[in-house]
Amino acid sequence: MNKNTKYKDILKTGKTLAALKSNITGYLLILPLLIGLIIFTIYPLLLSLYNSFYLDYDGFNNYSEFEFGFGNYIKAFSGYESKLFFKSVGITFSYAVIMVPLGLVLSFAVALFLNQKIRGMVVFRLIYYIPCLIPSIVNAIVFGYIFNSEDYGLMNTFFASIGIPAREFFYSASSEAVVTFAVMSLFGVGGAMLIWLAGLKSIPQSYYEAATLEGSGYFTQLFKITVPLCTPYIFYQLITSVIGTIQICDQVYVLTSEGGRDYSLLFYGVYIYREFQRNNFGYSAALAYMLFIVIAILSAILFRFNKYVYYEGDN
């Protein structure tokens, strides 16, 4: 009896000791992440929320000087500011709706081309991926010149030589500015392309061989084998692409920090940053929170598609 209870006690204390040691080591290892989460994520999140309830809070004066309430949120929907708000929402939304699918499809197509056993594939891969490796400044430098709105830019000089009137590109007050920007961002398909390549490589060659033996053509194989097996990658790309596109800021900021002529390039991220630069901490916090809510909703919706995704090891 004594021996047994002693043994159990030893085991128990041994277990609690081990658990304690485990806890301590775990927290030690997690400590940087934890501190980082609290200081750089959770605290700013709450502070931002708090700021957003003070009308036109300028970030550095006393809170008591500002009106408490939903003022900042109402401001976005009323008066002249609402014009900017709805314009930026419109631009961001229409851009995302068109460019996210387009980008996915185009990068997938490029990856398909690259997935062959061709010599020099490494070189091609490098060339296509370069635009994703360089700072957004370089884009502004070179595309700012190519698509310059005066007869100084490359495109307009070319147009002048063949007799077409100069186009305004980024300086346009209409949607032409966003279209030019979309063309510029098409150069960034290399990033997604790498992910597709990984996905394509993970499909065993035997599937294709079996399908060819059964007599199915290229496109049938594409849609019946490749695409379904790539669904995890499609899912991942879709989510990151949507979240990234909605937040576009620095690629536009280097071109025009104020949103372009007549606000034709005022993406939502640029709008928020513009307000921050004018020291409207309260208003920009409110705008950023609305963005957060939209992203959360979109993520929730997109995660529902998870059930369509085929995972290896599932049936």
């Binding site: 970030g59 550095f60 002249y80 310059n148 709105s149 005066e150 007869d151 100084y152 305004e168 300086y171 007050a173 104020e258 002529r261 007549d262 630069q277 004018r278 020291n279």
Partner: protein, 444 residues
């Protein structure tokens, strides 16, 4: 082996990157000693060069003192706000004339009237239009020290006039004369282009995007950008539109380069005339200087409108200057004042005008026939840079009006004028939209 190779390459890269940094780091690093003042300047090579010239003169004159130059990032106004929030404003800061009123009202500057009186510097030594800007605090005190006096003039390429057989313009010329000259030059565009080996030619680059060019046009016709009494945009809108249209007509008729900020055709021998100010002429001289050392550039005053609607044909002028900030501590006040004094008295003005890009703000020096600034292009019509002082128009359309709206109003103007006006398909709609945006900026 592969890993070692890779690490080696990276190590080499890092060393090559860090080495030049080591060399360049020798330059900076100022000690925050008691005898060091900090000066904030625009991030612009001309401004940096100018302040460095002043700095060397200052440090030579006052042994043992040092100056730390800080360059501004982003736009001046935002930078000042950021530094104010962080409590780190420099002791002296450079602001352009149009921001002077705004910042004076925000208590950024320390008044220097008493210091000027103490050291025997009189306000009457300077151009009165500039002193008005320096005294925008409403209490008659001088808050800001101007560095130069920049009146818009027209620089023209004598060679092109010779090729076209057009007479050189006269300081008293009218707008009709001006348009006629443009047309005459345009008629011979082909010859000029082949002589200059260029494919593009405009009679004039009007610098139309610049407020020193379009504000005088608006004001000459009786309009104004802001109606200060009523607190609305566009005083006398018809006059506003008339003035702007007069300028746009030049571009519409193909006489002037369309408004833009991206090209410099005058330096490239692509246009015959250029509306400019004194600091610009240095690069024109550098680019147009011929192999025999002669410079085919001369200057003429801005033409006067001969329209019966126009009372005075205003000529835009501006300047930049420095102010001692309220952040400057008591001990350093004298150090900072000595620097400012150096700039605005003869010593500094002499130094600045010898570079060619500075026109002295001391009237005595400006009117002197043998002044240094005249030696920059000997024989040229330097009088154009100060003639007709009664037509001076400083860019103070916002003076004394709602300081909190200044930044937004200026932003609207920078966005739209005149490039937006030129590009608008429906100009009437454009002006209405501009009015709405200005009213919105005012209303904040």
């Amino acid at each position: 082996m592969k890993v070692v190779k890779k690490l080696l390459v990276i190590a080499v890269m890092l060393v090559t990157l860090i080495m030049p940094v080591g060399f360049s780091a020798c330059g900076g690093g100022g000690t925050n000693s008691k005898s060091e003042i900090t000066i904030g300047v625009m991030n612009n090579s001309n401004e940096v060069r100018a302040i460095n010239d002043f700095k060397s003169a200052y440090m030579k004159k006052y042994d043992g003192r040092s100056v730390n130059i800080v360059k501004i990032t982003g736009t001046l106004d935002n930078w000042i706000i950021k530094q104010q929030n962080a409590g780190e404003l420099p002791d002296i800061i450079q602001v352009y004339d149009y921001s002077c009123g705004y910042w004076t009202n925000k208590n950024l500057f320390y008044p220097i009237s008493d210091l000027m009186a103490r050291d025997g510097i009189s306000e009457d030594d300077y151009f009165s239009s500039i002193m008005d800007i320096a005294k925008s605090g409403g209490d008659g005190k001088v808050y800001w020290a101007p560095r130069d006096y920049n009146k818009t003039v027209i620089a023209y390429n004598k060679d092109m006039f010779d090729i076209a057989g057009v007479e050189y313009p006269d300081d008293d010329w009218t707008w009709t004369d001006f348009v006629a000259t443009c047309n005459a030059l345009n008629a011979k565009a082909g010859e000029i282009k082949s002589a200059m080996n260029q494919t593009v030619f405009y009679a004039v680059d009007g610098n139309l995007n610049w407020e020193a060019v379009y504000y005088p046009a608006i004001k000459s016709y009786g309009g104004d950008i802001i109606d200060k009494e009523n607190g609305t945009a566009m005083k006398n809108k018809d006059a506003f539109v008339k003035g702007v249209s007069k300028l746009l007509a030049l571009a519409d008729d193909g006489l002037a380069k369309p408004p833009s900020e991206d090209t410099v055709p005058f330096s490239n021998r692509q246009c015959a005339m250029q509306i400019c100010v004194r600091p610009d002429i240095v690069s024109y001289v550098n680019n147009l200087k011929k192999s025999d050392g002669s410079v085919p550039i001369d200057f003429v005053s801005m033409p006067a409108y001969d329209d019966p609607d126009v009372d005075i044909s205003y000529i835009g002028m501006g300047c930049t200057g420095y102010g001692i900030t309220t952040n400057c501590s008591e001990e350093k006040l004298d150090l900072a004042w000595d620097f400012i004094k150096l700039i605005i008295t003869e010593e500094g003005q002499e130094l600045f005008s010898s570079t060619g890009s500075g026109f002295p703000v001391l009237t005595e020096m400006a009117f002197d026939d043998n002044a240094t600034y005249r030696k920059y292009i000997p024989g040229a019509n330097h009088d154009a840079f100060y003639k007709f002082p009664e037509r001076d128009l400083p860019m103070n359309y916002l003076a004394g009006f709602k300081p909190e709206a200044h930044l937004d109003i200026r932003q609207v103007l920078t966005d739209s004028m005149l490039k937006g006006a030129y590009r608008a398909e429906d100009r009437t709609a454009f002006y209405n939209e501009l009015e709405a945006r200005l009213n919105n900026a005012i209303g904040k």
